[in-house]
Symmetry: C2
Subunit: 196 residues, 2 copies
């Protein structure tokens, strides 16, 4: 494959990744879950310390135990056939002058996992809005380990099955800051694409 084609395919994957809320009940094949975990496993990390640990929640009893953790705004996530819980022990990663790299390293691994999900035809929605203590009790996560992200995972579902408020959110266009706000050339505050 040409370099141009590879770059274009990846760009399309990035743009296809959306934190959608409409999920089908259809289960996710084990091989797709494995591909996602493998993608996470090969992420880089500070000093290759690999602090990430994932709990894949699929059994009905475990999913039931997770559901009280969600805020009302995340009620849609109760439909997800799989929840991927991203955790790390801060002591398993570098800490530099207050910067706790377990969070950064986990971010690197989670993005690999999300993109592999999209490449597999799945929706993977990293959520805020859950109670850490409830999640930890539901899954038996040790005290010293932090839960950083809960990802609702499944095949794309039907928009019509969402409640009105959630459907409205789902149909809003994605927004991001302009490139000039987030990228600087050689010096802080000098927009990178000033000449664009």
């Amino acid at each position: 494959m040409s370099e141009e084609r590879a770059a274009e395919i990846f760009r399309a994957l990035i743009m296809r990744r959306e934190s959608r809320r409409a999920l089908a009940a259809r289960p996710v094949e084990c091989e797709k879950l494995r591909a996602m975990l493998e993608a996470a496993r090969w992420a880089p990390s500070y000093g290759n310390m690999q602090p990430w640990r994932f709990v894949l929640v699929q059994e009905p009893a475990a999913l039931d135990a997770m559901r009280p953790a969600f805020t009302p705004g995340n009620a849609w996530a109760k439909q997800a056939p799989v929840l991927v819980v991203g955790t790390a022990n801060p002591q398993d990663a570098k800490i530099v002058a207050g910067k706790e790299y377990y969070l950064f390293d986990l971010g690197l691994a989670v993005q690999n996992l999300l993109l592999q999900a999209v490449a597999c035809g799945l929706v993977a929605h990293p959520m805020g809005g859950w109670d850490e203590q409830t999640v930890k009790q539901a899954l038996g996560v040790p005290d010293e380990v932090r839960v950083v992200v809960v990802i609702a995972l499944g095949y794309p579902g039907r928009l019509e099955e969402l409640d009105e408020e959630t459907r409205r959110k789902e149909q809003q266009p994605r927004t991001r800051k302009a490139l000039a706000e987030i990228a600087f050339a050689d010096r802080w505050g000098r927009p990178w694409d000033a000449g664009a």
Copy 2:
């Protein structure tokens, strides 16, 4: 493209991403840098707060000012034609019970950027081993902003041009923890692929 093919192409990209040290002096085209920044820009973040800010260092004077920041083990990075400095202001992101999401969000964006670099035929090596104050002074980064990662970027270079110690490191195989150590099924400590 079939779903199987898309999943396979992405998996190959993940496996091709390596933190290599041999970099060519050849400059990196503006369009490739733009593709990388665009990939970062479309990453998800907690509450879509997008705390990431990148400084792309390419001018000789700015590269010179950065070089004293590197530890001796990162001397190879002085060859890089571009340094991408990943930063964020912790106050621009969510903080939940001590978890500072600027680090997690920046990790998500940086992984997009690294993978787009690989898809463009480049080497992108996120480094530890630099002095934050020196980087901040070199680039005029405000006091309240944290520098989290410095990425050495360029085209693949010749192994023979590395010193012996660095060449030795470069030739070591990549290692990762086994899947059973990092992925659990429904409950902490129950290996996900126990049946594999």
